[in-house]
């Protein structure tokens, strides 16, 4: 089941903050966040596994709610380099295995000077 991302797009000025949400109707095994710059491959940012977990590096952080049905990505004091499309990928079990991720449709983030 594909997770729902919101918003679809957001435009910021440098230094502003943004929140991107990823939600599912079912509890998730894991949530992965990726960033893809135009014309390039997605790059892994972080993974959340536990309900209530929060983690991050630099000015990009993420949380996973207690029910493990929603994750949010926080971009603080945005920089021009943060521009790109952000995807969440949700992990689950398929036939006893945990090999697949189902990605949301992405959130296009544009940071302007």
């Amino acid at each position: 089941q594909q997770p729902v991302q919101s918003p679809q797009a957001v435009i910021l000025r440098e230094g502003e903050d943004a929140v991107i949400n990823c939600s599912s109707s079912k509890a998730l095994y894991s949530v992965h966040w990726y960033r893809q710059k135009h014309g390039e491959a997605p790059v892994f940012l972080m993974i959340l596994l536990k309900g209530g977990e929060q983690k991050g590096h630099d000015k990009i952080s993420a949380s996973f709610n207690e029910k493990k049905q929603q994750s949010s990505l926080y971009l603080t004091a945005s920089q021009l380099s943060y521009s790109g499309t952000y995807f969440c990928g949700t992990g689950g079990y398929s036939g006893g295995s945990n090999y697949k991720l189902t990605f949301g449709k992405g959130t296009l983030l544009t940071v302007n000077p």
């Binding site: 894991s30 390039e40 596994l49 090999y99 697949k100």
Partner: protein, 113 residues
Amino acid sequence: SQTIHQWPATLVQPVGSPLSLECTVEGTSNPNLYWYRQAAGRGLQLLFYSVGIGQISSEVPQNLSASRPQDRQFILSSKKLLLSDSGFYLCAWSSHRGYNEQYFGPGTRLTVT
């Protein structure tokens, strides 16, 4: 460290022609391997994944096929390309030991004319 290669980087092929895209991973053994397709401005569609040599799981029925002849080699093929096969093809790998964090190759941009 691990690296993932894809070639060619770009490809223009006529409708009805065959296709072969190659992906190789270095610096790890027995990786999970994935093929994704991304249409222009769209999300990531999982096409195939493999957890071992000769083991291929297909996600979307279509005129594409995948093979894994060696541990760190993953090939995407078609006998006859369709216009709808155009897109950005991404190979990714993950470790069996992790939580399926996926690392993407640089991608192949395919245009079917």
